[in-house]
Every structure is written in structure tokens, then in C-alpha cells.
Subunit: 154 residues, 2 copies
């Protein structure tokens, strides 16, 4: 089963956070199984807020990209279609809300789990938890909308 | 007048988003004047969501670091003290809420403006707007708390 992000069409695969076509970026990979999306990511040693702990922007970015992927997979699932088949279901974020529950240690693989709590044709709401070593560090809720035509160049 | 982030003590100046001591990071600089913090930042060409537009994680990261800086300056102002004087007022984020109002164009200098809407000794609430070419693209609200001792290594 490919990563959700690897099923995005090429013109929508350039995201710095998760695009397979962005050689500079994080290339987050989220996998869909049984109604839940799972991703694992280990920040670089310099991705710190203060020494020892991951900076908040990275955590927000991971939640954002994982939520976008979760929304895509949930939309395909709701339509009973296989991931990546046209017409494409690629989402962008309208609102992102992150609770930082505990300092997130650097040098540890982070686990993100996402679930859609609302799925409509053009809008999906996703909740994501970020854990380090089994301990929840952050929780996010994102409202995603289908990528507007104005953002597509092909 | 130095940037707010440049007045953080050395052990709290390593943030990937805004730390003067992080050679890999964005080094966002926020300047305090007359009750408002202002920062300008131009993302790199590869910091895209889809071609032409800034990725959401970058916008969240900029809002996060600018809000943290705004909180610090507002806390000093509330105490009638000069920025950077001990005891230090360096904040971390408890909650970050971002509304993406419009696609944010890449290749344009972004302007961030932050104001504190609540200032307590250990908690500050900040609102930030992000504009490109004078047009608001995102709006953020952050709840910041004084950096816990557990996150300090000196």
C-alpha cells in the first residue's frame, strides 16, 4: 500500500512538508489502514525549540500534512474508491488548531495518528495525535477543504 | 532596537524558527514598537504547498515564533522593564490556532503583525496577522506560557 502522499497527482506533490516531488522537504509519509492514518517521522537534531525539544512549528507542520493526507484517504474511503484514482481528492487547510501537551523530545521517532471526524464532499475535519515513545506530546484538529482550482496550475 | 529574539538568553536562542544560535533555521526577527511586534520574512522558493503558494506549516511556524516573541516583549512592557533584562521572559506555546484566509503567494515578502490581547505573569495570549503585498493571508491566535524549568538546560 503506497503512502497517501505518493498517490497525489504530480502537480499536487510539491509540498515542502510531504510532497514526493520536493527534494528539499520533509517528505512525510502517511499510511491508511482501517480508518486511521499513521505516520512516523524523526526530526533532525537542529529542529529544536530549545536544546532537547522539537520546535513547535515542526509539530504544527507535521500535523498539517498528516491531516491533509488523512482527509484525502478518508474522502476516497467515503466514496468507496481506491486512493489516487481520478477525480483527485487533495485537500488544503482552512484551520489548524494545535494543543502542545508536553515538551516533545528531539532524537526520538514521532508517531502521528489521524482520524476523520467529519467527511463531506468538499470539507473534512481531522484529529491528529503526536506521540513520542508512546507519550502524547501534541494534539491537533484541522479543517480541510478540497484544493481550490486557483491553486492548481494544470 | 534589537530584534526581540536576539534578546533571549543564549540557552534559549536555539529555536529553528527564530533562534540566533541556530545556523540551520529561519532566524525570524520580530521588532517591538508601540505595543505591536512586526516581522518580515520571505520563504525560500521550495517552501511551497503547491507550486506558487507557501506551505501551511511554514505559516504556522512563523506565527508561532512571532507570537512567542510578541509575548516576551509584551511581558517586559507590562513590567516596565527593558527587553532582555533578567529575570528573562521567554515563552513557549500551549495552543496555536491558525485560520488560512487565502493562498499565500511564494516569492513575496510576508509581513507579520502581532499584538498581545491578554498579559498575565505566566501566560500571554497573542493575535498575529500574516499579509502578502498588503493582503491578509492568515490569522493566528496563540496561548503562550513561560518556559518551564524542565525545558531549560542551564
Amino acid at each position: 500500500m503506497p503512502a497517501i502522499q505518493d498517490t497525489y497527482p504530480d502537480d499536487l506533490g510539491h509540498c515542502y512538508g510531504c510532497g514526493k516531488n520536493n527534494p528539499h522537504g520533509h517528505r512525510l509519509k502517511s499510511y491508511w489502514h482501517d480508518g486511521e492514518a499513521l505516520a512516523r517521522f524523526t526530526p533532525e537534531p537542529y529542529h529544536v525549540a530549545v536544546p532537547g525539544f522539537v520546535y513547535g512549528g515542526m509539530i504544527a507542520s507535521l500535523i498539517d500534512c498528516h491531516a491533509t493526507g488523512t482527509a484525502s484517504a478518508a474522502a476516497y474511503a467515503a466514496e468507496g474508491r481506491e486512493l489516487g484514482t481520478p477525480p483527485h481528492r487533495r485537500f488544503v487547510t482552512a484551520n489548524l488548531n494545535v494543543d502542545y501537551l508536553a515538551p516533545t523530545p528531539i532524537g526520538v521517532e514521532l508517531e502521528l495518528r489521524g482520524r476523520a471526524v467529519e467527511v463531506k464532499p468538499r470539507k473534512v475535519v481531522v484529529e491528529v495525535t503526536v506521540s513520542a515513545g508512546g507519550k502524547p506530546c501534541a494534539r491537533g484538529r484541522a479543517v480541510l477543504v478540497l484544493t481550490p482550482d486557483a491553486m492548481r496550475q494544470s
